[in-house]
């Protein structure tokens, strides 16, 4: 089992739920921002010492939900200050961006790191489309075309041009080309059957985070494997990434309390503004391709928000407790899903950074030795 230490880089001084979109930045304090970036980056570097195999960044816009509007900037620092961990860009939000720029920056990260890049091709959550003024209806088509174009950028031995529906370039030849051959391992979100199919068709690692329950995850994995077989390849455990909000403490009650408070802040404060934009996108566009998927996604968000912490642990939605408890929870989850990569997010909402750091230390000393060979 491989473990990705994932960080959202949240802003922790928003005191009341925000319902507006975009979230006003009038209360952003640059000096605090400087301290936060320093703390967060140091925490991510520390992950290597704590036995994590990957360190993960992602991209979000226009809210205190996350301060990584361009996660490649953070990835560049991580690469420079780590030696062996792979650096997983769990962004970029490819349909929102210039694909040539994504190809170039990912190639830079891959070459600078000596081939340690995991290249995320994310579609993005709905509110990001409002931020960058891209029609949400076009999200799937843009992602598909951008993927094809970026792979061409990475693999074509001669200059080429591209004439597509969304992207047109007459002469492309990126410098550098990626380090990994034929190109960096790709990671895509696959939290529903449609996205699982999309990822399998492109031989990407499938990623599922914030699970509502294990049955939904099993269904996506089934579709992913079935599609992979139809496309002539056999995915292994290393192609399945499962994410979980995680906190390890010396005492179980502390873990539940800190994680419970952090989740409340995450869902009720940080996610408030994005949820407003998301509601508008879902109501007014075809971001979700059919009604059933839209309803399932809404239900999933409701479940995630409303389920008590004990029940979330029991259902395998989160990892929480003492090191020994978390080892058991990890083993149960592995037995249930057969995955080979876990996305571990410990900085949930406003959980204090010293608590996160202690959780990482316990992880490295008392969890990893029991689960690395799963």
């Amino acid at each position: 089992m491989k473990f990705n230490f994932f960080h959202l880089m949240p802003w922790c001084d928003a005191n009341e739920p925000d319902r507006e979109w975009p979230v006003s930045n009038r209360n952003f304090v640059p000096e605090k921002g400087t301290d936060l970036y320093r703390t967060y980056i140091d925490t991510m570097i520390y992950a290597e010492e704590c036995g994590f195999d990957w360190v993960g960044c992602n991209e979000h816009h226009f809210s205190p939900y996350g301060l990584m509007s361009n996660c490649n900037l953070i990835g560049s620092i991580l690469i420079n200050r780590t030696k062996n961990v792979r650096v997983a860009m769990c962004g970029n939000l490819v349909p929102l961006l210039n694909p040539i720029r994504v190809a170039e920056e990912y190639a830079m990260l891959d070459v600078m790191s000596g081939g340690r890049l995991i290249a995320g091709f994310m579609r993005g959550i709905p509110h990001e489309y409002v931020a960058y003024n891209i029609p949400p209806d076009e999200s799937w088509e843009r992602l598909a075309e951008a993927f094809d174009l970026i792979v061409k950028c990475w693999t074509e031995p001669e200059p080429f041009g591209w004439e597509g529906k969304y992207y047109q370039y007459r002469a492309v030849s990126i410098w550098p080309r990626p380090y990994q051959k034929p190109y960096p391992q790709v990671l895509m979100s696959a939290s529903n059957p449609d996205s699982a199919r999309f990822a399998a068709e492109r031989r990407a690692i499938m990623g599922m985070v914030m699970l509502p329950d294990l049955d939904a995850a099993r269904e996506s994995i089934r579709v992913y494997k079935e599609t992979a077989h139809a496309n002539g390849w056999e995915p292994g455990p290393e192609h399945i990434l499962i994410g979980a909000h995680t906190l390890v403490c010396d005492r179980a009650e502390d873990a539940k309390r800190y994680l419970g408070d952090g989740l409340d802040y995450f869902y009720n404060v940080l996610a408030g503004g994005p949820r407003t934009a998301q509601r508008l996108v879902v109501q007014k566009t075809r971001y979700y391709q059919d009604q059933a998927l839209q309803q399932r996604s809404a239900a999933r968000r409701g479940v995630l928000k409303a389920t008590p912490i004990e029940e979330r642990i029991e259902k395998g939605m989160i990892l929480c407790g003492t090191p020994e408890m978390v080892v058991d929870q990890l083993k149960r989850m592995k037995d249930a899903l057969g995955h080979g990569v876990m996305n571990i997010n410990m900085k949930i909402g406003n959980i204090p950074d010293e608590v996160v750091r202690r959780s990482m230390q316990l992880w490295g000393e008392r969890v990893v030795p029991h689960v690395h060979n799963l």
Binding site: E158, G161, R170, A171
Partner: protein, 260 residues
């Protein structure tokens, strides 16, 4: 835009051809499917005079015993330019016609100006499959959007006969090593078009052409198979028109003002 079918009297024999449009001449060399008029060609004819000769053996015409190779057909095309077009001209070849167009550029460089190679055949790597004999399979591999095809008045017998004519010129050959060795001789500025869903020409072919033709541009057309003009007519016309109009400056994104 209407095209008329007429006939040229050449030293090598009679050669029927379609002609239509107005403007600078553009010689179009057809694919193994024969001389097919598409909406894209009709649009190109708004600014160009298009000539579409029908190679002997295609579309119900007889083969000619002294014309057996692609190089022979290139010689015929050169004679057509001399006698019908009357001046060196831009040349566009599709698939089988792209193969002929490359021979034309190698053997008769003074006859052509700029060259457009639309999914050209003849440059597949060793061991690549040849053209399928099953017409349904052929159609499946050739078109990503067959719904864009204009109604075809040609009979099934004509289509079968066209397929047999390909063997007359090529046998089982998919790879023209002689021509590959001479691609470096092509001096014309060349546009190579390849569809990302092309099921007939492997991607190694346009790469080889791009590598060896010194002054060339390779463009991938997304969501198009072997007949890019059918699958993505607007993109095809835009690329070809722009390339033929401004040549090397084709890579520059020009504003409306500078285009004017």
């Amino acid at each position: 835009m209407t095209f008329s079918l007429t006939e040229a009297k050449l030293a090598k024999g009679a050669l029927p051809y379609h002609v239509g449009g107005s403007g600078a001449p553009l010689l179009c060399l057809h694919s193994a499917g024969g001389a097919r008029l598409t909406s894209a060609l009709e649009r190109l004819a708004a600014t160009r005079t298009l000539y579409l000769p029908v190679f002997p053996g295609f579309d119900g015409t007889p083969t000619q015993p002294h014309l057996r190779t692609m190089e022979d057909l290139a010689g015929l095309a050169a004679e057509f330019i001399d006698n019908v077009v009357g001046q060196p001209c831009d040349v566009m070849g599709h698939s089988f016609g792209g193969w002929v167009a490359c021979w034309l550029a190698v053997d008769h460089p003074d006859r052509l100006q700029q060259l457009v190679l639309h999914a050209p055949a003849g440059f597949a790597p060793d061991g690549a499959p040849g053209l399928p004999t099953d017409l349904a399979k052929l159609r499946q591999l050739a078109f990503a959007h067959p719904e864009n095809l204009l109604p075809d008045t040609r009979s099934l017998d004509i289509h079968r006969s066209n397929r047999e004519t390909v063997d007359h010129y090529l046998g089982k050959k998919t790879n023209d090593r002689d021509l590959q060795g001479r691609l470096g001789d092509i001096s014309a500025l060349t546009l190579i078009l390849h569809g990302t869903k092309d099921g007939l020409v492997p991607v190694a072919s346009p790469r080889l052409l791009k590598e060896r033709i010194r002054r060339s541009h390779l463009i991938y057309v997304h969501d198009a198979a072997h007949a890019i003009d059918v699958d993505q007519p607007a993109r095809f016309v835009s690329l070809v028109e722009d390339f033929l109009a401004v040549g090397e400056a084709f890579i520059v994104n020009r504003s409306r003002d500078s285009a004017a």
